[in-house]
């Protein structure tokens, strides 16, 4: 199923194509299921009858609406401003009328203020442009431009990109790593972006280089996207210090820390950031978005979303306006009658939607739908038999078996103190391999939340 990367690489004649000597430790090989969509070009998606724009689409403070109910807005117009540094603004994805501003549900189960925009009947694709950011602008200016464009990590984390790109004082950025790994099964968003928006990617890299003053650019691509790697390395501008690196297929290679280890061999210290080893990782779609938006001073209004899974009739990669309701998306692509589970994101780390009234947000990298028939439900949970499969799978060498038992018994402090709970980034490898079907990741997410809460409220010791 997974192509032996090294042999493939040697056959390739491209000069800059090299292989990572290392990959990261452990990891899993889930079935990829990418073949159904990775050949399909990106398709423009129509406007929904109503666009619901939640103010919390990123990590950090929600944006603050700057429009009133009843106001008319143009596509690309700023509708909400960032609330401080750890926040990004929102732009209207469509020209239309603001119908109401009220509470809307979010994928995570929380509720946030949302702007309801009813598109004009014949709203076009033209976008309101702002002040362009020149490639020769200062790093600060570029970062400000990135924030003003409302750009967040499009790989799924939705972390404000300008915050990530800000190199702390005293630190140097050696490597700019462009993440084109896309290790999640089913998803082909980044794959299509690399194939179809390579020029934007290179422009984006120029902005990023300027902003971070990195010495080298490494583009990490898994061996199952050889065509994208070939294309990018053949189109690499000669003046850029870019190296396209093809790495063996393995989950969760797309995770920042794993990717850094795979490409450079460095390990990001526990509790630290990539910049601690001189690296900054940016998703390839984010890079393309920077390259496309900044020269025109635009804000982000749409994103590429892979819609796939056994429950979808018209699978494909779609350029969907942000704020499009999930229900409308599924109706357009034709979901099967007995739709059962909908994940926003891939099947390994994506979130179950409990409600079809949520909207596509900046962080939605894919929608995977399962119907009743094709959902292989193993609902029988066995006790942990300490088989060690999770230990062999965990990319950060935790002991999920022990952690799971401790979590079940609510020994959260012990988990954090002795078993490095907080290093877990919930990649799901342990649950994926668990023969006893223990919801390990859910336990750990719960435990992490509680430990963080307790840490925050430390002073009072409570029996």
């Amino acid at each position: 199923m997974w192509i032996n990367g090294s042999r493939e690489g040697k056959n390739s004649t491209e000069a800059v194509l090299t292989f990572a000597s290392n990959t990261f430790k452990h990891g899993v090989h889930p079935p990829e299921n990418k073949d159904e969509t990775n050949k399909l070009p990106i398709r423009q998606f129509p406007f929904a009858p109503v666009i619901i724009l939640p103010m919390t689409q990123h990590i950090g403070k929600p944006a603050v609406p700057v429009v009133r109910e009843g106001q008319e807005v143009a596509r690309g117009q700023l509708v909400a401003k960032a609330d401080g540094y750890m926040s990004v603004p929102m732009h209207a994805p469509v020209s239309g009328t603001v119908r109401k501003i009220t509470n809307v549900p979010l994928i995570g189960g929380l509720v946030s203020t949302g702007i309801f925009i009813e598109p004009f009947p014949f709203s076009g694709q033209e976008v309101l442009e702002g002040e362009p950011i020149s490639l020769h602008a200062s790093p600060e200016k570029i970062l400000q431009g990135i924030q003003d464009a409302g750009i967040v990590g499009l790989g799924g984390a939705a972390f404000p990109t300008h915050v990530k790109l800000k190199i702390p004082e005293g630190k140097n950025c050696e490597y700019l790593i462009i993440n084109g790994i896309e290790c999640e099964p089913y998803l082909t968003t980044d794959h299509r972006v690399m194939l179809e928006q390579s020029d934007d990617i290179f422009i984006g890299i120029r902005y990023l280089l300027k902003a971070t003053s990195a010495k080298k650019v490494l583009i990490g691509i898994e061996a199952n996207k050889q065509d994208a790697a070939d294309l990018l390395s053949s189109k690499t501008p000669i003046d850029l210090p870019i190296q396209v690196k093809v790495v063996p297929v393995k989950y969760p290679q797309g995770a920042e820390k794993m990717l850094i280890t795979a490409l450079t061999g460095f390990e990001v210290p526990s509790g630290g950031l990539p910049i601690d080893v001189g690296a900054v990782v940016v998703n390839v779609a984010t890079t393309a978005e920077i390259g496309r938006l900044l020269p025109h001073g635009r804000g982000i209004q749409e994103r590429v979303v892979t819609i796939t899974g056994p429950g979808i009739k018209k699978k494909g990669n779609n350029l969907i306006p942000i704020g499009t309701p999930l229900r409308y998306v599924l109706e357009q692509v034709g979901a099967v009658e007995n739709i059962s589970e909908v994940y926003m994101g891939g099947p390994m780390m994506g979130v179950s939607a409990s409600n079809l009234d949520i909207s596509i947000t900046k962080g939605t990298s894919g929608i995977v739908v399962f119907g009743d028939d094709n959902l292989k439900k193993i609902d029988k949970i066995y006790p942990c038999i300490k088989c060690g499969a999770c230990v062999d799978a965990c990319p950060i060498s935790l002991n999920p078996s022990r952690l799971g038992i401790l979590a079940k018994n609510e020994a959260y402090d012990l988990m954090a103190e002795q078993y490095h709970l907080l290093d877990c980034f919930e990649c799901g490898s342990c649950s994926y391999v668990c023969p006893s079907n223990i919801p390990l990741v859910q336990y750990f997410r719960l435990a992490k939340g509680i430990v963080r809460k307790r840490k925050a409220a430390k002073p009072t010791v409570h029996a």
Partner: protein
């Protein structure tokens, strides 16, 4: 009057006739302190240490009592002298090395009136060991005690998070595990 080799004494005291699992000596601390691995190993160390002290004490007292022809005072002198000596050592450690005291000292009062200690003294006398043999015997017994305690602690730490039936919870569970451990130690029979 005993010609057992040091090796035989060591293996016998630590494995074949483990103080806890075969002689049932020191069951109280075994049941009480084997809940956590860390305390168990510290307790083991402390017991071994006290065993060495009491072994020397017992050897001295025995010689003295033989000299003054008063064997009937053996038991009472053992218990009193050992208790007193351990107390003295405790104070000494407290003064000399607070770190060592924290690691060992808190267990010392617990150990003084422990049948493993007194048992050691009585056994070495009845077996007629000389000083060297007594010391080896003490080390072996201490090691055996530590081994049993630490193995038990490992098992119990795991069981802490198991869904043990209500009926079994508590001492019964520990005893069952101890029984199985005792069964396991039968494999060492005939060694030495």
């Amino acid at each position: 009057m005993n010609t057992e080799s040091y090796w035989t004494i060591l293996i016998n005291a630590s494995l074949v006739n483990n103080f806890v699992l075969a002689y049932f000596l020191g069951i109280c601390p075994f049941l009480g302190v084997s809940g956590k691995m860390e305390t168990a190993s510290k307790m083991g160390g402390a017991v071994t240490f006290v065993m060495l002290i009491s072994s020397v004490c017992a050897y001295g007292i025995h010689a003295l009592l033989v000299a003054i022809n008063a064997p009937f005072l053996e038991l009472i002198s053992y218990i009193v002298v050992i208790a007193a000596t351990v107390q003295l050592v405790e104070m000494f450690i407290k003064k000399m090395s607070p770190a060592l005291f924290r690691a060992l000292g808190i267990f010392l009062p617990l150990i003084t009136t422990n049948c493993a200690i007194l048992g050691l003294a009585l056994f070495q006398t009845s077996k007629g060991y000389d000083l060297g043999q007594s010391l080896i015997f003490a080390i072996g017994a201490g090691l055996g005690f530590t081994l049993a305690l630490v193995l038990m602690a490992g098992i119990r730490e795991q069981l802490e998070y198991a869904e043990v039936p209500d009926v079994v919870k508590g001492t019964a569970l520990t005893l069952l595990a101890a029984g199985l451990l005792s069964l396991t130690f039968m494999g060492f029979s005939g060694l030495g």
